[in-house]
């Protein structure tokens, strides 16, 4: 009896020791993150060949897109199927701004970015009011609208129709010239920094007050409204935020490829991003980016046999039904699945 009490007491002591942990663990985590960041920025360009780097760059681009999809899914419970229209649209606008409006590269970049943000805000203002299922349908419809609009005969002179547009800029953007963006090793550095910053930004938003409100609205919107919270604005801000990440990814993609094709606005880009997010796990920022890399290398492996889309479909089903928390999801205690199924029980 006495013996047991001491065990219980010592067990009770353990959490106190653990509570002292974060003060020690946090610097360790930061150091580890810094090491990973520096190693990731430097190592691949030294050890990997151009081809692997190219695939990895595409992986990070998709990872950023997946990050935007995952953040909205995880924090707001909303699934967006229109990420491609932002991603491809930003690139297309950049190309148009340079070739048609004769802007300098930097001005074109800013113009494309601003137009996309305005578009995302207007669209978001219309559709974040709805519930998750309608939101999913509406983002799909809006995405298809943009990809149809690009192919319109009347806009062909602007958008290049099915041929797409070549992007060749003279001068430099942020001290980098066109050739630098096309160089896989240099672009890897750009992508690595961009993806890390995007991941960090969304991660900190998720931990902020805004993130807490978003999750509470996801759980029960009525209760939040009843408690005096504005449930509309936080979701709109989140929607615009993730589209900013998607637009940055789209602009980087065009800078790297030097070309924008109508396929980059197609539904398959959106579903690829969704799959990457589901594969990596939607909770947190590491999962989606990792998912993008996994997807990109898998696509490289199987794409030649024309199996990419088939595997995309299979991956959606398998990861939702069997591994709903993705590859990284096991590390995080926050299961999106549990919260969503919790919602179903209540409804």
């Amino acid at each position: 009896m006495n013996n047991r009490t001491t065990t219980a007491a010592s067990e009770r002591v353990a959490p106190i020791g653990a509570m002292g942990g974060p003060s020690l663990r946090l610097p360790l985590t930061l150091i580890a993150a810094a090491i990973v960041f520096v190693a990731g920025a430097v190592a691949p360009s030294h050890f990997a060949g151009d081809f692997v780097l190219r695939v990895a760059n595409e992986g990070l681009l998709l990872g950023m897109l997946a990050l935007s999809v995952a953040f909205l899914m995880n924090q707001a419970g909303l699934v967006a199927l229109g990420a491609a229209s932002i991603y491809g649209g930003a690139g297309l606008l950049f190309a148009i701004a340079m070739s048609e409006w004769n802007l300098t590269p930097l001005a074109a970049l800013c113009a494309a970015f601003l137009i996309i943000v305005v578009y995302a805000t207007v669209l978001g203002a219309l559709i974040v009011r709805t519930n998750p299922l309608a939101f999913m349908m509406l983002t799909l419809a809006a995405g298809e609208m943009i990809s149809h609009a690009v192919m319109l005969e009347a806009l062909r002179d602007y958008t290049g129709g099915a041929d797409g547009l070549a992007v060749s800029f003279k001068g430099s953007i942020f001290g980098m010239e066109a050739a630098d963006f096309a160089n896989p090793a240099r672009f890897w550095l750009v992508m690595w920094v961009a993806a890390s910053l995007a991941g960090l930004a969304l991660w900190s938003v998720g931990r902020s007050r805004l993130g807490a409100i978003l999750r509470a609205v996801r759980e029960n919107e009525e209760r939040m409204r009843f408690s005096g919270f504005d449930t509309y604005l936080p979701r709109l801000i989140a929607y615009v935020l993730v589209n900013i990440v998607a637009a940055v990814a789209g602009l980087l993609h065009v800078l790297n490829a030097g070309f924008v094709s109508p396929e980059s606005l197609g539904i398959s880009v959106s579903t690829n991003a969704l799959v990457a997010a589901l594969m990596g796990g939607i909770a947190g920022s590491v999962g989606p980016i990792l998912g993008g890399l996994i997807f990109s290398f898998a696509q490289d492996e199987f794409g030649a046999r024309g199996l990419t889309q088939l595997l995309t479909g299979i991956a959606i089903v398998v990861f939702i039904v069997v591994f709903p928390r993705g590859v990284v999801g096991g590390l995080s205690g926050m299961a999106w699945l549990r919260t969503l199924s919790g919602r179903r029980e209540r409804s």
Partner: protein, 285 residues
């Protein structure tokens, strides 16, 4: 001119009605938006193409819906029932994934080129009514579309299973409390819905060309119709499909440059004015 316009929009609406009402039926019973419905329609079209080559159009019109009804039964047992406890969004995503798989299998077997199906002898050619010449096949399409629509309405209105379907669609929990077996009903409705998609696919063959992108186009159009019609409301879906067909056809005549965008504009307008749609369907959740 106006008469032709109306006839053409009716022909398009006939196809849309068959698909959108199938979507609305499953949604009403299971609360699931079947994002794979477009792929099932495409499967119907390609199977119709093959069966037509072997045994003719009429055989296809009978065999394909039966095959797809069997597929619907498999879909119910293998996907909808095991996932009953999952959230609606997850099930919707699974149907999206299944739709992609079906679409890719079709492309694997048939390749990426567009195909066309000839209308049977008796339906080819055109008739002249009031000095207007009109293709017989489109008239057949309208008759089939409106006919199935009437049959559906009669079934829902006058049979006991139809009554149960309406009851579950209106209030699932109360209906279950009253002893309605929603699972058995759902089996019926899912297979009916996929069979309808099969009929629509076979009928689409001679009307428009069959191509690998038809699934996405059709599912997006149907989602727009279901939203405009008020989700879960079958009557609303029918009205919305007619309206949609009219807008699409009129758009391609009067505004050929932006005809492709008309449905989306319509969607946005309806969402702004009446977010619950024409049929005031159950609020989506």
């Amino acid at each position: 001119m106006i008469a032709l316009l109306i006839a053409n929009s009716l022909a398009l609406a006939s196809l849309l009605i068959m698909l959108a009402s199938g979507l609305a039926l499953i949604y009403g019973l299971r609360d699931v938006i079947n994002f794979g419905h477009g792929a099932i329609y495409m499967l119907g079209a390609y199977l119709g193409y093959t069966v037509s080559l072997v045994g003719g159009f009429w055989l296809a019109l009978v065999v394909v819906p039966i095959l797809l009804a069997l597929l619907g039964i498999a879909f119910e047992y293998l996907a909808l029932r095991p996932l009953q406890g999952r959230s609606h969004i997850e099930v919707a995503l699974v149907t999206l994934g299944l739709g992609i798989i079906v679409g890719q299998i079709i492309i694997f077997f048939y390749g990426g080129v567009a195909r066309s199906v000839d209308a049977p002898q008796i339906l080819s050619g055109s008739v002249t009514v009031l000095n207007l010449s009109y293709p017989v096949y489109r008239i057949f399409l309208i008759v089939m579309g409106l006919g199935s629509c009437v049959l559906l309405a009669l079934w829902l209105r006058f049979t006991s299973s139809g009554l149960y379907v309406r009851a579950v669609s209106q209030d699932p929990s109360v209906a279950r409390m009253m002893g309605i077996n929603a699972d058995r009903l759902s089996l019926l409705v899912t297979s009916l819905s996929t069979a309808f998609a099969g009929v629509a696919g076979v009928l689409a063959g001679p009307y428009m060309s069959i191509d690998p992108g038809m699934d996405v186009t059709m599912i997006v159009n149907c989602l727009i119709i279901v939203v405009i019609g008020g989700t879960g409301s079958i009557g609303g879906a029918i009205v919305a499909a007619l309206l949609f067909g009219m807008m699409q056809v009129a758009g391609s005549v009067f505004l050929p440059n932006i005809a492709a965008l008309v449905p989306y504009i319509l969607l946005m307008v309806v969402l702004l004015i009446a977010p619950r749609g024409i049929g005031r369907g159950r609020v989506l959740n």
